[in-house]
Symmetry: C2
Subunit: 309 residues, 2 copies
């Protein structure tokens, strides 16, 4: 008989480290409800101002709820994480943090949008509404190497995946590197585009319900997942798409987003920081072709359905 | 009153060059029906064998039907290409061409799949069926620089875009660099994933109907487009997704596709060349996150709906 467990957010950890004591031991197949604070570790609140983002203590960002010890998990197994539910708490934030993001050099000033989250969507500003498609930005297990690893970059143990496909109904597979796996999660996003270009989605505290299972002996090298259709609620009224070509996919992504910021500013009356933030929560980066050397194409897909006016 | 014109494939051009004489003069708003041969320039036929791909004359690949002179088009304008219809001719091919493609070093042997195209789908092998979502791989205008430019790499004048979003119902915008724009097209694909990882989609001769218009004075630097929903017919039964992280998006894309080839070989009984070719026609590469330095994530999305058995 599988059990349901509850982990509050009274204790979080701010590094991945296989020496962190588990807060919970469970059997494979048990369900855990995780209370997750927001990615700033409660440094941003509904009353915050943009200037507060310049004072962020990066030692506190991407705090994680966990670890959970899954009995019987051994290195070489795969941890199966069924994403059962995510519930927000009514608010979120999207920020441009100086020095961080795809176009950091072009957006040196802090910007902060505080969102009021309704049941299924949230207003960016009048006439622009984003459907909520919540997921955990960070899910991972303890690393095989000893010592602390930061929580900003994803690695082979998972971590800050920031992959919008990891919504309710998805099954995530993570490699197990240490006995018990030592799973933790956090950094919930109420919505995010593929790329998360400004560096933040709709960052939101959430209650996350996951079922943790094991696939014994099914070794994988990096995370993978199975996700249901449709891929996004926004694919209903078509897309406006900018593209950029060149030998460097990263620079192409930068350029495609620059074009999109130009477009949103010119045609939808947004300030440039607003446009950049909107790209981060709603625009999807795709690699359209990666074979016609020397020029590859990255495309930025803006869903028209977010414009309600 | 707008007119309809017809351009057969009796004359094609194998370079982009602003000195190529237009085969047709039209008014903005006119419709043109283009007969397009396949991307090999009829070197591949329904009777071809894989070994024939080692003999390809690359001087003949990506042949283009055109150019079309649009009266009144001037540098600084934008050419508006409404994609009205694409009709295949019952067959197509997907090839692994030695030395070409995302994993060229790992697939040194030629591979050729000849497809029989039905009305809305085509069988890859028993139990695997690809819905047809046809588009022109190559659409472009004459370059501003004098002299010939090859047809394999896309540049600022468009060209070999290989972007699967350019299906029927899409409006493509291209910058105009020379008087008359001198539009041409070719390289039709009956289906292709984002990335076109093995270097070919379902390469097919087609009849393409386009309406060519002008947006005067609306200068853009690279192609962009507006495309209808849904983005793909395959988004009905969820996806199996492999991912790879690291500082180099290109290497991440290679690794994510390697994982997918491994998966398709192990779980769906495909040979590795079959798996790689299937990725090229059906798997979508997405940039899941591009901000969590030093590690960015590229994901490869395999639609489960293609498996019919």
């Amino acid at each position: 008989m599988s059990k349901e467990h509850y982990l509050d957010s009274s204790a979080v950890h701010n590094v991945w480290d296989n020496s962190i004591e588990p807060r919970l031991h469970i059997d494979p197949g048990d369900t855990v409800i995780f209370e997750c604070v927001d990615a700033s570790g409660q440094q941003v609140t509904p009353d915050s101002q943009a200037s507060d983002l310049t004072q962020l203590d990066f030692g506190k960002v991407n705090p994680l709820t966990g670890p959970v010890y899954v009995d019987g998990a051994e290195p070489g197994d795969t941890l199966k994480v069924e994403i059962l539910d995510l519930k927000h708490k009514g608010w979120g934030w999207t920020g441009i943090i100086p020095g961080f993001g795809l176009l950091a050099d072009e957006f040196p000033e802090p910007y902060l949008k505080i969102w009021q989250l309704e049941e299924g969507s949230a207003e960016f500003k009048p006439g622009i509404r984003i459907p909520l498609e919540p997921f955990c930005g960070s899910m991972g297990v303890a690393p095989r190497v000893d010592g602390p690893i930061g929580t900003v970059a994803p690695t082979e143990h998972g971590g800050n995946l920031d992959t919008r496909g990891l919504v309710k109904g998805t099954v995530l597979y993570l490699p197990v590197w240490v006995p018990g796996a030592l799973f933790s999660c956090g950094d919930c996003h109420a919505a995010q585009g593929d790329g998360e270009v400004c560096g933040t989605g709709i960052e939101s505290p959430m209650t996350v319900t996951l079922r943790l299972g094991l696939v014994k002996g099914a070794s994988i090298s990096e995370f993978r997942f199975e996700t249901p259709s449709p891929l996004t609620k926004t694919d209903t009224q078509g897309y406006y798409v900018t593209t950029a070509h060149g030998p460097d996919l990263y620079k192409n992504a930068q350029q495609a987003i620059r074009y999109m910021v130009d477009y949103l500013s010119a045609e939808h009356g947004l300030t440039r920081p607003e446009a950049y933030a909107l790209c981060s929560v709603a625009v999807d980066l795709k690699i359209s072709e990666i074979v016609d050397a020397p020029n590859f194409i990255v495309s930025a897909y803006l869903p028209k359905s977010i414009f309600t006016a």
